[in-house]
């Protein structure tokens, strides 16, 4: 099977350039200005943009254990719909991914039935309870790419130090969800103006910052690789910036929602504005955007976290934290940041592709002859309507529900086969 994609604006070496791409079987065979070859399938991509398949370092697939929210099939289909071809699955499933059997289960199921490559992140501590180090080395031999207790956070600094030392021993990066439980308390939204106004308990920025500060110190002292998940405050970013200037191996990711929305969104009591870390202030949002632009923040990750309607559509303080993000990520970012000129399309492309791949040493996410044909074709001139019917995730918990956003994923290719094809797209 061969596919020829003609005349697309192809993201190559940091720029968009008009190129043809020839795919043979699962690999990119050639990229050139004009390819005269015949192919089984020809796609005219004139006026469309072609990106390497997006990479998401932070996805909750809910499988095993909570498959009424999401599973590997629906989660990776949602990924394909959003232009993603690779994702990292967070270990807070039921059972927790703290053992090689569960690592195997996820990898095998994704391989057999999935529409995206799934890399597994193992738990940092057993059952992610924050009490004892998990069997990291065994899981590493089973293929995990990092360890994390995401959803929770190791509170004991001594244990965290040991996790850092042990993980580093086996070449595993650590992904940290920074949250001090005592400072966070029963917080519902950012501790600031809106929480004061609505009488909702606040999650103060400090709850994130004291852990970011602690873990940077612990990691730096041990020359460890530490990745800060969903960074959200100006001060956390400043600490990361300074650590990187000192040469520490600290990386970070930011979510689309922290780049676009602020605590003001919570005034609506829409539970799709409730997540951890919470939507922060405008100042924090601008700091995230600035740091993404200048590279202090390495990449964008969605923190895709499905919850069923019966859980999410209820009283604000009883609804669970988290929103879905795989399908909306590109359009939301393009619509709200790139189109108004606040972020370049090139930086967005990088932050969704090779930049995250480098953070966790995943295979390169770029368009190059010889590499797997993982790519996505997007029409920036069309809108996507995020109606419940159009969302492929099992859950519909997104703040962009029912909105129309610029940017439409027409095709996603994974190893040369189509994993998403927009009903309106035309193959000639």
């Amino acid at each position: 099977m061969t596919t020829l994609i003609k005349n697309g604006n192809v993201y190559l070496n940091g720029k968009f350039q008009t190129r043809d791409i020839l795919i043979k079987k699962e690999k990119i065979q050639k990229i050139a200005r004009h390819l005269p070859e015949k192919a089984d399938r020809v796609i005219d991509a004139s006026g469309k943009h072609i990106f390497p398949g997006f990479v998401d370092l932070h996805v909750h697939l809910r499988d095993p254990g909570q498959t009424y929210k999401e599973d590997i099939v629906s989660g990776t289909r949602a990924a394909a719909h959003g232009g993603f071809t690779s994702l990292c699955a967070m270990p807070n499933t039921d059972p927790v991914v703290d053992n090689i059997a569960t690592v195997d289960y996820i990898q095998r199921r994704a391989k057999d039935l999935g529409s995206a490559k799934v890399y597994v992140i193992g738990a940092m501590t057993k059952k992610s309870e924050g009490l004892e180090i998990s069997e990291m080395a065994t899981m590493k031999s089973g293929g995990i790419v990092a360890v994390s207790d995401d959803g929770g956070c190791v509170q004991n600094a001594k244990l965290m130090l040991n996790c850092i030392r042990y993980a580093t021993n086996f070449g595993l990066p650590l992904v940290v969800h920074a949250e001090d439980y005592n400072l966070a308390g029963k917080g519902q939204i950012h501790g600031g103006k809106v929480s004061s106004r609505l009488g909702l308990t606040g999650l103060p920025s400090l709850a994130e910052e004291v852990i970011v500060s602690r873990d940077i110190m612990l990691a730096e002292n041990n020359d460890a690789r530490l990745h800060i998940a969903h960074i959200s405050t100006a001060r956390s970013i400043e600490m990361v910036r300074q650590a990187r200037e000192r040469g520490a191996k600290i990386s970070s990711e930011v979510t689309p929602h922290h780049l676009i929305l602020t605590e003001e969104a919570c005034l609506s009591f829409d539970t799709n504005t409730k997540m951890k870390p919470p939507l922060r202030t405008e100042e924090d949002r601008l700091a995230c955007l600035e740091a993404l632009r200048d590279g202090t923040i390495d990449c964008i990750a969605t923190d895709h976290a499905s919850h069923a309607d019966f859980e999410k559509v209820r009283e604000f303080d009883h609804a669970p934290f988290g929103i879905i993000g795989l399908e909306t990520a590109f359009s939301a970012l393009y619509h709200h940041l790139v189109k108004p000129g606040l972020l370049s399309l090139e930086r967005l492309a990088e932050a969704l592709t090779d930049a995250p791949a480098r953070v966790l040493d995943l295979p390169p996410a770029m368009l190059k002859a010889g590499l797997p044909a993982d790519l996505t074709i997007i029409d920036l001139e069309q809108q996507t309507h995020f109606s419940p019917e159009n969302i492929l995730s099992k859950s519909k918990n997104t703040p962009w529900l029912d909105q129309k956003l610029w940017g439409k994923v027409l095709y996603t290719f994974l190893d040369g086969r189509i994993t998403w094809e927009d009903p309106d797209a035309q193959i000639s």
Binding site: G192, L200, G202, F269, D317
Partner: protein, 312 residues
């Protein structure tokens, strides 16, 4: 008096949705209702055939009684539903509860719930007007209306009045609603309490003054309102002991001297006599605490009357 169309079918989530003129209109209507409450036969047929539901997911006997009495005095039928949040979590959700109640033909809901924003949910599920009877620490607009009504009855002109509210600001929906209402009517509000019980940004958010020192806060006040201090705040580590709290923040004969000599004393109740307010202050001539309770029924009658479109 007739209910004007501008109130018909509206929700009362909080006073932010009502203009100063509209609030004044509600006060006028409350005055008319109060006259009814002073009659020997305290009932008018204006809402005959309508059904009001009190939906209390957080226990408050006095507020529920006030709403129910208000509905009954207007001749509405009353359905009351009370449950604890834990039972709601285990069994039927709020959504299911509203669908069930909706099948009984409810025209107006009065809800008390520990979750901020729950009145909006009730409206979303029922598509009927909702009066917020207190949602968590967010808002308690009928309490603010009755407080403002009580002041208005005594003082007349509200503009420029100096109000000082003292106590657990963090956990008080009464303060938030009063701040919005009083500010709209041109009153000058100071809030006071220990810093651990004072949420950030209150001055910027509500245009009020924030004071941590009681005597300073009370200086030249026309109105002084105490708030209930709950024992639980101590176990939450927000202050060390009721004795120490009382020493610094109680309304006593000594501290009240800093306010104007004829300052009105208020409290939304229930009171902890001897903790946030001393009995001699609560029972003094200047105290209008008992009147507040009576006015609560009148204000709630006025709202039901206006929202359901009654005629006098």
């Amino acid at each position: 008096m007739e209910a004007t169309p501008q109130f018909l079918g509206r929700n009362m989530y909080g006073l932010e949705d009502y203009s100063a003129d509209e609030i004044m209109y509600i006060l006028e209507a409350s005055k008319a209702m109060k006259e009814i409450n002073l009659r020997q036969y305290k009932k008018i047929p204006t809402l005959r055939g309508k059904t009001v539901c009190t939906l209390f997911i957080e226990d408050s006997t006095r507020t529920r009684m006030s709403f129910e009495l208000a509905a009954k005095r207007l001749s509405a039928d009353v359905v009351s539903f009370a449950a604890s949040i834990s039972s709601l979590q285990k069994g039927e959700s709020l959504q299911d509860t509203i669908y069930t109640l909706g099948a009984m033909g409810i025209d107006l809901y009065c809800i008390r719930h520990s979750s901020p924003g729950s009145p909006q949910l009730v409206h979303k599920y029922s598509q009927k007007p909702v009066i917020n009877g207190g949602d968590g620490r967010h808002a308690h607009p009928t309490q603010a209306l009755l407080d403002i009504f009580s002041i208005w009855e005594h003082v007349g002109n509200l503009k420029g009045l100096k109000v000082t509210i003292v106590g657990d600001i963090l956990n008080s929906r009464v303060v938030r609603s009063n701040l919005i209402g009083m500010k709209k009517l041109g009153m000058d509000v100071t809030i006071c309490g220990p810093r651990t019980l004072m949420p950030p940004n209150m001055d910027k958010l509500f245009g009020c003054r924030v004071q941590y020192e009681l005597r300073e806060a009370l200086r030249d006040a026309d109105i002084v309102m105490g708030l209930r201090m709950q024992f639980e705040r101590m176990t939450e580590g927000l202050f060390p002991s009721l004795e120490e709290y009382s020493k610094h923040y109680a309304l006593t004969q000594e501290t009240i001297k800093f306010a104007k000599s004829d300052a009105l004393i208020m409290h939304p109740g229930p009171m902890n006599r001897g903790i946030e307010i001393l009995p001699e202050i609560a029972d003094s001539k200047q105290s209008i605490i008992v009147e507040q309770v009576a006015n609560g029924v009148a204000v709630r009658m006025a709202l039901m009357f206006l929202i359901l479109g009654g005629k006098l």
